[in-house]
């Protein structure tokens, strides 16, 4: 069984290589979370909402990605599929209130929180000899955001919050080089690097009436600077001087995110609600992928490939309802636009419009323990583009199945 779980493909959802699986409760309703205080995961979804999260909580969750991507090269009819590998977006959240909520003191309206989550990631590998091997054979990108947060509920109508984000990123790219040796074997290139950057996450939750709430949160763009990237080239011996294993520098700006949501509660206990949310990721910052070499490689000082991404939007609707004393059920649906324009789609990020839905539940065997389960289905719309830079034409299709499990404990 475990072996079969391992024999699953990984995938990235949402625009570009953004991963949107940060909270297991939210995952159960298509990642809705900005307009409602969900628990400790509000650290991510809306630091403002954290102001209305009571008690001391700790939550952890993981969402193994089971995804498939097929690539058709239309001119030759060759089809390829991504190879199996596993990626596990995970999240860990902690929140606490400093004073007793009964006292209604200023301190009791203050919350502290900490979140560790993976907002961007990608782990794709194609067969080593596939037709697109000079573009990519495998790519592995991991990011971690660590976010200490403070929130303050001004009154029952408005709560604000903000967190400082420290981001870490690490990646490896493997591709073949079209330089054959006397046996006809291609060269290989491997680039890897890691770096960090800082940003912030701020949000506000407004409850104009007891049944309505509006949430807005904003995560700033994160510029990850890589100063000491490593290259590893394997080329025919006679041209090896042209491909020194030099270091490189690169700066990758992870886009900002704006989340805006509205929720309507069906009961005063605020357990049953329906919410709509719009997420916008400012992918316009991702204009090119550029590596500056310390020493020239093949006569070039840098490698720059245009990406020219555009902002992407995700439209979500979802909700939850309390089914029994210790069971809450959830459902949601979403539509996610692509960020990559026609000129610049590449097989390492087969970006297409996506849509899907999810279901989830929270089971509380004892009063302070929540076991969150979710299952999300993502369908990619088929997309055919010719990359203007590399001359690679492909039709991409894909889907993903994402089970999730999480635990939240309230002290």
């Amino acid at each position: 069984m475990l072996l079969w779980l391992l024999a699953c493909n990984t995938y990235t959802q949402a625009g570009g290589f953004q991963v949107q699986l940060q909270g297991q409760k939210a995952n159960g309703m298509a990642h809705i979370g900005t307009a409602v205080p969900l628990g400790a995961s509000s650290v991510y979804f809306n630091p403002g909402a954290l102001g209305y999260v009571n008690g001391t909580r700790i939550s952890a969750g993981v969402s193994p990605l089971l995804a498939n991507v097929s690539v058709l090269h239309p001119q030759t009819g060759a089809t390829s599929a991504k190879e199996t590998s596993i990626g596990t977006p995970l999240s860990l959240f902690f929140s606490t209130s400093l004073g007793k909520s009964e006292s209604n003191s200023a301190l009791s309206r203050l919350r502290l929180g900490l979140g560790i989550y993976t907002p961007f990631g990608s782990a794709i590998s194609y067969p080593d000899d596939w037709i697109g091997r000079y573009l990519v054979q495998s790519v592995d990108l991991k990011t971690f955001y660590i976010q200490p947060t403070v929130a303050y509920a001004i009154n029952e109508y408005v709560s604000l919050g903000a967190g400082f984000v420290y981001g870490l990123g690490k990646f490896t790219i493997n591709r073949a080089i079209p330089l054959a040796n006397s046996q006809g074997v291609d060269g290989q290139a491997k680039l890897s690097g890691s770096g960090g950057g800082i940003g912030f996450n701020a949000g506000i939750l407004i409850r104009p009436t007891p049944r309505l709430s509006v949430g807005v949160s904003y995560i700033s763009a994160g510029k990850v600077s890589i100063s000491d990237g490593k290259t590893e080239f394997t080329v025919p011996q006679s041209v090896a001087p042209l491909f020194p294993n030099t270091s490189f520098s690169s700066s990758i700006t992870l886009p900002n995110q704006l989340l805006v949501g509205v929720a309507y509660y069906f009961n005063v206990e605020n357990e049953n609600f329906i919410s709509v949310q719009m997420d916008r990721a400012g992918w316009g910052v991702f204009k090119e992928l550029r590596f500056d070499y310390a020493q020239p490689v093949a006569g070039e000082e840098y490698l720059a490939e245009p990406r020219n991404y555009e902002a992407n939007y995700v439209f979500r609707v979802g909700g939850q309802a309390k089914a029994t004393q210790n069971l809450v059920v959830r459902a949601g649906a979403f539509y996610d636009t692509a960020s990559a324009p026609d000129c610049c789609v590449t097989p390492e990020v087969p970006d297409t419009d996506k849509y899907g839905g999810s279901i989830g539940l929270t089971y509380s065997p004892i009063e302070n323990l929540d076991i969150d389960l979710s299952f999300m289905l993502v369908q990619s719309k088929q997309r055919t583009t010719t990359n203007a830079y590399s001359g690679f034409t492909a039709t991409y299709a894909g889907h993903a199945y994402i089970p999730g499990i999480g635990i939240e404990y309230k002290f």
Partner: protein
């Protein structure tokens, strides 16, 4: 027992679900078709480009990557038939060039050592009994030599062996060779890419001079030395071929002649001497690496007198001369070859601007004739002249590979600077497929370029 069965059932259920989940998404496969064409019996007529020559040699491996063979493989996917070529035995064939080492000269310019590998002694054994052949490309053949019965057996013709080994009788003309094959095979489809040598033979010998057979490279006296075929002779010969080729009403494609001055054979050595801000070609001083040393060559000036001139942009120095420039033991002893007015480059080593103009004028005239013949017979014309110029000017990006017309690193041209690499022939085959798909409303799949390497490095 009960629990075990439940577990097994769950396991099987889980495995089946996971198997179903891991099915790859279906993308509708494109439907390939032959359209109005019929590829049952393909014939290709032409010269070394059609035969599959690379790096100045023919091997079994190169023949597998000839554009006619690549085309035939793609045609098979839409009902095409078998394609027979006059195979040389597996191995080193006629002994193509190979890079043995790459070093940098004093000024940091890459300087490859290129030498021919040992010929396979059986490469020229007669294979006429293995015909008839679908690939009728014969290296060195030109429209000029179409009816020349002694072309194959002439010992002074370095290409004669290529026809000698594929015909039963030594005095066969290329015209008879083609006609007998057309009669045997009755082609349903053909590609005709002939006429290149009518300009290239002149250009590659620096304007029609004897190859260095007797240590003399300045003798030019037609018809012993290569000369540009006249447009009239070109047209008469081409029509003769078309008459026999079109006898059974096949479909086909005509291909234009590339601009031979765009080949790395002309530009690779010459570009070493381009200096910014100067119209003169200037070699680098070995110590300062400044472009400061003029190059001298012999040519007939406007009065017809052989004179020593300084090389300018617009003059081309052929690839093979590059090994000798600067040598003090070549031509005139004790003086650097080409870099001293008293040891100028041979006529045969330079295609000067006048000779360039004459060559380009001929090529343009030939291509106009080919295009006219195309419209006359309702045959599509693949414009390789335009494609190669595009490649030289703009380069080409295909499946993540950047291809251009640079010598060695460009990926398109092989080590002789004239013939394509495997990758170059695959690109040509795909361009021809595009023309066929458009004109004959077919949908033939492209060949996978990534399976065909460019120049191979040690």
């Amino acid at each position: 027992m009960q629990l075990y069965n439940k577990k097994t059932t769950l396991c099987i259920l889980g495995l089946s679900i996971l198997t179903w989940l891991s099915c790859n998404p279906e993308i509708e496969q494109p439907v390939f078709s032959k359209g109005d064409a019929d590829f049952s019996r393909l014939i290709t007529v032409g010269n070394s480009l059609t035969a599959g020559i690379e790096s100045n040699g023919l091997t079994h491996y190169f023949q597998e990557a000839s554009y006619p063979n690549i085309l035939a493989e793609q045609f098979k996917k839409v009902g095409g038939g078998e394609f027979n070529q006059p195979w040389v035995p597996e191995g080193s064939g006629s002994g193509p060039l190979q890079i043995t080492a790459i070093a940098n000269d004093n000024c940091g310019n890459p300087s490859p050592t290129i030498a021919a590998i040992t010929t396979d002694s059986h490469w020229s054994d007669n294979v006429s009994s293995e015909g008839p052949f679908n690939n009728l490309g014969i290296p060195g053949i030109s429209l000029q030599a179409l009816d020349n019965a002694s072309w194959a057996s002439n010992p002074l013709n370095p290409f004669g062996t290529f026809l000698l080994r594929t015909t039963p009788t030594p005095n066969t003309t290329y015209y008879n060779y083609i006609s007998s094959h057309i009669e045997d095979i009755k082609p349903t489809f053909f590609i005709s890419w002939i006429g290149d040598n009518d300009a290239l033979a002149y250009a590659a010998t620096g304007g029609g001079y004897l190859p260095d057979l007797f240590g003399i490279k300045d003798v030019a006296s037609p018809p012993l030395t290569p000369y540009l075929t006249s447009s009239e002779d070109f047209e008469v010969a081409y029509r003769k071929i078309l008459d026999v080729l079109l006898a059974n009403d096949p479909k086909g494609v005509l291909v234009t002649i590339p601009d031979v001055t765009a080949l790395p054979y002309m530009s690779a050595v010459t570009s070493r001497f381009y200096a910014e801000g100067s119209d003169a070609l200037l070699a680098q001083d070995p110590t300062t690496c400044q472009h400061s040393i003029p190059l001298y060559y012999k040519a007939k000036n406007s009065s017809g007198i052989v004179d020593t001139l300084a090389a300018m942009r617009g003059d081309f120095i052929i690839l093979s001369a590059g090994n000798y420039i600067g040598s003090t033991t070549y031509a005139v002893q004790g003086l650097p070859y080409g870099l001293h007015p008293n040891n100028p480059l041979y006529n045969a080593d330079v295609l000067d601007h006048n000779e360039v103009a004459a060559t380009q004028q001929s090529i343009n005239a030939y291509n106009q004739i080919i295009k006219n013949l195309g419209s006359e017979h309702n045959l599509p014309v693949a414009d390789m002249y335009q494609e190669l110029n595009d490649l030289a000017q703009n380069g080409l990006a295909v499946e993540g590979i950047e291809v251009n017309a640079d010598f060695l690193t460009g990926g398109f041209f092989s080590l002789d600077g004239i013939h394509p690499t495997d990758r170059g022939y695959a690109i040509i085959a795909n361009k021809l497929i595009d023309v066929i798909n458009t004109h004959y409303k077919a949908h033939i799949p492209h060949a996978d370029i990534t399976r065909y390497p460019g120049v191979q490095f040690p």
